[in-house]
Amino acid sequence: MFHKIRNFLVALMNIFHGSPLYYAWIFFLLAVMGIGLYAYSVQWNQGFIVTSIRDEVSWGFYIANFTFLVGVAAAAVLLVVPAYIYHFGPIKEIVFLGEIMAITAICMCIMFVTADLGRPERILHMAPLIGTPNFPSSLLVWDVVVLNGYLFINAIIFLYVLYKIYEGKSYAPIMPLIILSIPWAVSIHTVTAFLYNGLPARPFWNAGILAPRFLASAFCSGPAIIILVFQIVGKFTRINIDIMAIRKVAELIAYTMALNIFLLGCEVFKEFYSNSVHLAPLKYMYFGLHGHHGLVPLMWTSLALNLTALVIFVVPATRRNIALLNIGCVLIIVGVYIEKGFGLVIPGFTPSTLGEIYEYWPSGIELGVSVGIWATGALIYTLLLKFTLPVYSGETHIEEPEENRERVVTA
């Protein structure tokens, strides 16, 4: 036991060793986090008046980011399935990159939700025993349960598998948990969709297609981020990323992308053809309503990006061209970020339940806090990666108890 803890600490020390570039990156992130912390202190001291959130649009940029990131976290499942279930070699070797991403994304989700609370110090009122969680009635409690559960499951799987790989032993005992993580990944995004979906007051969200749309868009933007991260990691570390892994993920994106556009089309048809009063939010998004056009340029940009990306990913020739693929990934990430951030949260509130149109646009403070949280996420991911990689590649030399000396690192 002593050795285990000691070895863990030795491996942990890795995060303090790095090139000047590594240190520059870390300090850059810390500085941006400083901005975020400052912005948050302003919000804390003065209240939400410094944000653009008002009674009419009561959720904004924080919740938009939260929703996007839940999708990113859920998308890790697209690596878990081929890796652990189908034992697809190229992905199996790098599945941990996805798991770290899920862990990071959930941490960011929790930060974004906390930033959105008017009284974050009372968050334990939601906890069992100490507080009074309104369970099972409130979907927000469900969301807290599934998100924290997902964080917990992924952290356990990640640490356990890493440790077993390091020991050169089989990680089979944890397979049930790995299998559980697959439906759980779907559940986090479904529950998040239900959070919006269950509100009859907001016709824009109150459509059965919402959860499938959430999953489809998550399963194209999440893997797109993963593809980019794969390449960055491959460039800056000794980890070798098999092009086959990237191709496989790109293929998955092609399917989900097409599904995402299809579902959007279903939604657009239903609303515009039936032309009921519930059309207003969609009309506001794409064409403007009563002279308010705040989201129109953004939404058309998003649609154009998504369609372009769809073409890139669906045509095998362009998908295999790595430069085009990367462009496609960026287009998808930006496209889905707009679609799910601005395009989901804000039209839900526009027009408001009393028919008022308040054109929401995040304030400087909100942007500052959000950038800070993104930097925190990047820091978490970097440090986790820095901790994991040497262990994974067998670079870390650790003093071993006698009986373990002959161990060989297999990864």
Binding site: I35, L37, A39, F48, G118, R122
Partner: protein, 301 residues
Amino acid sequence: MKNKPDNKKQMNRRGFMKAATAGMAGLATQGCVNNINWDRFFQSHFKEMDKEELKSTLAKLEKEYSAKYGREFVVKATAPMEGTLFGYGLDLSRCIGCRRCVYACVGENNQSRDPQIHWISVMRTKMGDKWADLENSTRYYDPALVPEEGYFYMPIGCQMCEQSACVKVCPTGATWKEPDGIVVVDYDWCIGCRYCMAACPYGARHFNLAEPDIPKDEINTNTHYLGNRPRPKGVVEKCTFCIQRTREGKYPACAEICPVGARKFGNLLDPESEMRYLLEHKRVFRLKEDLNTQPKFYYFF
């Protein structure tokens, strides 16, 4: 906090420098800790307080508010009366849109003047216009005299739904429906997630965007724990049918002030009440009935 934050929304260069140097060192953390009212932090949920705790909590609040506003405060926790279920009626053909009710409510219920919070929104709609989605209505009309020709007015506040969407979604149970039908909020239990505001179909819930500002000479010192006691920043508040008045038998402030007598209030369980007569003899509708929220706020004409 020594470093007074910029009121401007823009993050400027100075802000960055400040943040990058002192920010991490705990500037924010210190501010955070100082801002918490620790006494209230350990307070229980209203429904979980026993008699003793409730009594001491009310005394503590009275002391706190009296010190803050320099006047004697009464904070009650009057229980609901047996056999009452409150209902509200509003005569659309009478309302002239004068907004007397809006401001009587602000005064009675200690709403923040800065930033402004109004529990009642008076919507103006052109006669003959589609108004089901209220999109063609406005609450910002400002003529010299009301009523204006060709318009009608519809005040909207909390509809006190029997199937309250807001209560259903609250993650901490900080808002609930009392036995007499009033939907209330425990301002010391609300975490400010604003899920209830997203869920409310009537725009009846309002968020304290900043520390509420109420002039000392205008504050109403006769308060109820679940009603008009001063609220902290960062929590949601709403109409309570003037719980501090109605649980003592009085009419709500909005009904008392209405110059045209368009506002009716009473006990739905009492067959002799004005509300029951109204329901039986008038053409009545409830807002957004298709959502099945079952409001106890009836519009009639």
